[in-house]
Amino acid sequence: MSKPNPTDRYYSRDHEWLIYYSDGTALIGITDYAQEMLTDIVFVDLPEIGRKVVPHATVAVVESVKSVSDIFSPVTGEVIEVNQALEDTPELINQDAFGEGWIVSLRLSDPEELKMLLTAADYEEMIKEEK
C-alpha cells in the first residue's frame, strides 16, 4: 500500500508532487504510488542547474533495474537545485518519496500554472481509476 498523499502540496497527472514556497520556488518529487510502480530505483539522472523547463518537459530521468522513466516538470521554471544525495543513494526515492527523495527545486515563472495541478484528493481519485 502506498503512503497517504500529503495535503501540503500539488500533484500532477504524471505522478509528480510539488510544494510551492512563498519565495516563488518549488520542490518537486514523485509520489509514493509512482515509486511503488517503478520499484527498485537504481539510478537518477539529474538536470544541470539553470536548465529551463516547461510543463511536461523532462526534468530528470529515474531508472529501475528494468525501466527508464522520464520525470516531467509540472510547471514552467528554472532548475535552481538538485537533490545530490540521489547520486549515491537513489533508493531514497523508494524509501521516502515525499521527503528525502525529492528530486529538483525550481524557480517558477508563473505561479498561476499551479491552478492546473491536482489536489491530494483529486490525485487519489485519479490513481483509484488507474488501478
Partner: protein, 363 residues
C-alpha cells in the same frame, strides 16, 4: 496472450504481469533486486512453462539433429544435455537451444519461447527434404517447466525426491519422481548458479510448484520473475535470443564459437566458412560503465566521433552494484579494457570493454 498453467498463482501472488513474446508472464513478484539476490544467496523458483519442447525420435533422429544443429552430438551420452544453435542457410542464429539425449534414438529439444514455431517449421522443412527415419513432435503445450536456481536448490529438491541429486552432474539429467510425480530433472539453468530445470506434464506442474515452495520455505525460497531472470543471466554473461542476437547474427560473432563444430556439415556451415574467410567484423562483448549511467538496449557506442557499436543488453547489476551490458562492437574496439563511450540520452558516458562473465559463482 497465452497463459501458463501457473498464471493464477502469479496473480494470487500479486506479480506484475507482462507480455513476453505473446505470453502473460510474471516480471516480478516483489522487486527485481530482491529476487535476484535471493537466487544468488538461497533459491529462486521460476515459471518457465512458456519455453518450447520438441521430441525427435527414431533410428535416424541423431542424423537429423547432426544436420540441423551446430554442435557435434556424436559423443553425447544418454542423460547428457548439450547447448547448441539452430542456424538458417545464411548461418544466422534462429535459436539457441538445449538437446536432451533421452535414449539412443530419442531426443528432446528445449527451445526459447519466441522462436519455437520458427524452429519447428525450419526443422520440419529440412526433415521433409531429407526424410530421415524419425518423427518430430511439438510437446510444448503438454510440457510444464520450472527452474529452481540458487545454492540451496539441491537441498530443497532432495526433500521431494529419491533421485541421487548429489551425484547428478552439471548439464546432466535424470528421470525422477518429485513429490511422487514423474519428472525430468536436469542440473542446469540460466542464472549462473547451481540449480535444476524440472519438466513435468502441465496438469501437475502446479503441484510441483506448491511442494517446492513449501519445502523451500525454511531455506528462503522465493518465486522470481523474468526481471530477475534477465539480470541473473546477464551477470553470468549469457545471451538472450531475440535481444542480443537474431537471424542476422552469426554464432561466430557472439560467444558461441564453442558450440559450432567446424569438422561436421550442418545447415549454415557453408555460410559460416564464407564468413570466416572474409573476416569477422563485429563481435558481441561485455561492457561496464565507468561514468554515471546505465547502458540500455539500442544505445549507441562511440570512440570519439566514430560510432563503433550498439548495446544489446544493459542493466544495473545487483550483485556487482554497477552498470553492465553486452554490446556489438567493431572488432577493432572489442578487446578488454578498451575505453569507449555510450550515448545515454544526450550525454556521452564513459565505459570500457570487459571480459565475460561479469559474475562467476565460487564453487
Amino acid at each position: 496472450m497465452k497463459k501458463t498453467p501457473l498464471y493464477e498463482k502469479h496473480v494470487a501472488l500479486k506479480a506484475k504481469i507482462i507480455d513476453f513474446g505473446g505470453w502473460a508472464m510474471p516480471v516480478q513478484y516483489t522487486n527485481v533486486i530482491d529476487e535476484h539476490r535471493t537466487t544468488r544467496s538461497a533459491a529462486g523458483l521460476f515459471d518457465i512453462c512458456h519455453m518450447g519442447e520438441i521430441e525427435v525420435k527414431g533410428s535416424q533422429a541423431l542424423d537429423l539433429l547432426q544436420l540441423v544443429l551446430t554442435r557435434n552430438l556424436a559423443d553425447q551420452t544418454v542423460g547428457q544435455v548439450k547447448l547448441s544453435a539452430l542456424l538458417n542457410e545464411d548461418g544466422g542464429v534462429i535459436d539457441d537451444l538445449t538437446v536432451y539425449k533421452m535414449d539412443e534414438y530419442s531426443f528432446m529439444l528445449v527451445t526459447n519461447a519466441t522462436p519455437k514455431d520458427r524452429d519447428w517449421e525450419w526443422i520440419n522443412k529440412i526433415q521433409a527434404e531429407k526424410k530421415f527415419d524419425c518423427e518430430l513432435k511439438d510437446v510444448s503445450d503438454p510440457t510444464g517447466k520450472l527452474d529452481l536456481q540458487g545454492p540451496r536448490s539441491e537441498e530443497i529438491l532432495q526433500k521431494l525426491t529419491d533421485a541421487d541429486l548429489k551425484n547428478l552432474r552439471f548439464y546432466h539429467f535424470c528421470k525422477a519422481k518429485v513429490a511422487g510425480l514423474e519428472t525430468i530433472v536436469s542440473r542446469s539453468g540460466y542464472t549462473g548458479e547451481d540449480g535444476f530445470e524440472i519438466y513435468a506434464p502441465e496438469n501437475v506442474i502446479g503441484q510441483i510448484w506448491d511442494r517446492l515452495m513449501t519445502a523451500g520455505a525454511e531455506l528462503g525460497i522465493k518465486p522470481c520473475g523474468l526481471g530477475a531472470r534477465d539480470t541473473l543471466r546477464l551477470e553470468s554473461g549469457m545471451m538472450l535470443n531475440g535481444q542480443d542476437m537474431d537471424e542476422s547474427v552469426s554464432p561466430l560473432e557472439v560467444p558461441y564459437s564453442w558450440i559450432v563444430d567446424k569438422s561436421k556439415e550442418f545447415v549454415g556451415a557453408a555460410a559460416l566458412r564464407a564468413k570466416q574467410s572474409t573476416g569477422i567484423r563485429k563481435k558481441l562483448v561485455g561492457l561496464e560503465m565507468t561514468g554515471r549511467g546505465i547502458a540500455r538496449h539500442g544505445y549507441k557506442v562511440f570512440h570519439g566521433e566514430k560510432e563503433i557499436g550498439v548495446v544489446t543488453s544493459g542493466t544495473f547489476s545487483p550483485t556487482l552494484n554497477k552498470a553492465i551490458g553486452l554490446a556489438f562492437m567493431d572488432v577493432d574496439y572489442s578487446a578488454p579494457e578498451t575505453a569507449i563511450e555510450v550515448l545515454i540520452r544526450d550525454t556521452m558516458t564513459a565505459a570500457k570493454i570487459v571480459k565475460l562473465p561479469f559474475y562467476k559463482r565460487i564453487k
